[in-house]
Symmetry: C2
Subunit: 331 residues, 2 copies
């Protein structure tokens, strides 16, 4: 019988039952694990569903002699799993792409409307007993959205903005995607042109050397004074000093972030970037929670369990991120 | 030459030019008018575009001897225009329905997402230097929305929620609308059933004797504990004491309002309804600004100017709300 370590407290019991039904012995410590505890827990386990906050460090993977698969719950496994060590030891690593598209796209629209319609600002003023006369705002309909990064999330945001909100959508990505263009009725624009034309700019790029930061002084000055920036990617995609300058000088109208440069977030008075003390009509922020919905977690759990089932039934999985692991497989 | 009084400061100059080009002499005092000032301004005017905050009172209309048309900028003319007096004096009254559909529908989605995804709550906590760990929220996709009132705005909200957000939409209205049902892929439900089944309930009914209030204790207890109520209609559609009780006892999850029972809003400590002191994860509110966008105002101005042009060119307009005025017409 194969045995599986499942970490974290957020995986629904139904998925654990499904693993048991598929013949796995399931261990699910729900507390946060130290590296030493993880090493201990991994002893004798054949697979490891990483759903907690711990890291699958080099040390943990080196000593996991029976381990064949790390199924990471989420997309950005890079900072959680010492993938090079896994590969060298013949351990496959999977992630769960796609499951959070809906929740991140919906959060993006929510942040966009909260900022452009000043919902958060007005509510905050009124709850403090202050007057809130925002003046006229602008509808999304008929205006131009610029989507930066047309992966699954960017495409879903584009789809919502064209079909439901009647926006004109342009996008920038390293590689133009003509099929998606015609499916969605959107068009490609070089980044500079997108920055100059869009009324609402939404960032959906992965974190790479080229995208951290992608948006700095040079890019922000190209934006319209009436334009807003929505960032549900990673904070680091935008250079914080440049953003603060642009917001303080009102050279752009506002920014909305899901996720900040420092997490957990500091108090505004301790924020080295000075964005958290800006008023809510200019800057709003949530912790990095766009994917934290029941739908996303169930979707990710589904994919992780499916990867485990497939890996042990068929010897592989569609979601393996380190295909070279096979070259180092002892068995 | 016909002369027109245009009140308010928010009508774009291009619409005034268009009236001049159509042969009208345009008077546009932009300050707020008292009743006496309005009586004075209406002297000798043939038409009156009511775009300010003043009321076309019985007194003002009684003394407006040349007046043939009051073109009200907005939908809810009832509290602004003494329509019975206008009718008796043979004065036509028009309003501008439809122009605010986009902006109110978009605001509705914004409030819905701000509340369900706790955007406003998280931002408020973080800006105060407090921790904001909301736990998992729920996607809109796959859940059920209940639209109460399927006029132009309710239908547009339904359209957005089905096409872009993949929600299952049910609606209640006095008269079932089978054509809209099949166009939008939605289905009718009696109010009780809608209240019991929906995860998100959005109110889009006009203010009538039956709808003030439509939602009280009896209706709120039918709602799911996880459901939220979005009210961009009028606050009075919901009985405030019943709502407060439901929110405080968590028998429903939250409510989001555009417009309050008292405007301008009181300070939370002076709020007789006690809703303004509830936390932002339970109750959020904006002043009644859902229609306050450039798009709405231009749309309303367009319709009002078109009504004036049509009335004086053809003797009538599609948007006359008091057709009986003709029976009292002297000329």
């Amino acid at each position: 019988m194969k045995s599986v370590l499942v970490t974290g407290s957020d995986i629904d019991e139904s998925y654990l039952s499904r693993l048991r039904d598929a013949g796995f012995e399931v261990h699910n410590p729900t507390q946060d694990l130290t590296e030493d505890e993880l090493i201990e827990e991994l002893r004798g386990k054949h697979t490891y569903l990483l759903g907690g906050l711990e890291r699958a460090t080099a040390g943990a993977l080196e000593s996991a002699d029976e381990l064949e698969l790390v199924a990471f719950l989420g997309v950005g496994y890079e900072s959680f799993v010492a993938t090079d060590v896994a590969t060298r030891r013949g351990i496959a690593v999977t992630n769960t792409p796609g499951a959070m598209v809906t929740s991140v796209a919906e959060m993006t629209i929510g942040l966009m409307l909260s900022l452009t319609r000043k919902i958060t600002w007005m509510n905050g003023r009124l709850k403090q007993g202050l007057e809130a006369s925002p003046g006229k705002s602008s509808d999304l309909r008929g205006r131009t959205a610029g989507i930066v990064g047309l992966g699954a999330i960017g495409a879903q945001v584009a789809r919502i903005l064209t079909t439901a909100f009647g926006m004109n959508v342009i996008y920038f990505s390293r590689t133009p995607k003509p099929q998606l263009e015609s499916d969605l009725g959107i068009s490609y624009a070089p980044l500079d042109e997108l920055l100059r034309s869009a009324d609402v700019i939404s960032l959906h790029v992965p974190t790479t050397a080229e995208t951290t930061p992608l948006i700095g002084d040079k890019e922000l000055v190209r934006m319209k004074e009436t334009a807003i920036l929505v960032n549900t990617a990673r904070a680091e995609v935008v250079e914080p000093g440049a953003l603060r300058k642009a917001l303080e000088s009102r050279s752009i109208a506002g920014a909305a972030y899901d996720g900040y440069y420092i997490e957990p977030l500091p108090s505004p008075k301790d924020d080295p970037h000075g964005l958290l003390s800006l008023a809510d009509d200019v800057f709003i922020v949530t912790p990095h929670v766009a994917s934290l919905t029941h739908g996303s977690w169930n979707g990710m759990s589904e994919l992780a369990v499916e990867s485990i089932e497939s890996f042990f039934a068929n010897g592989t999985s569609d979601r393996i991120v380190n295909p070279d692991y096979t070259q180092h497989r002892a068995k």
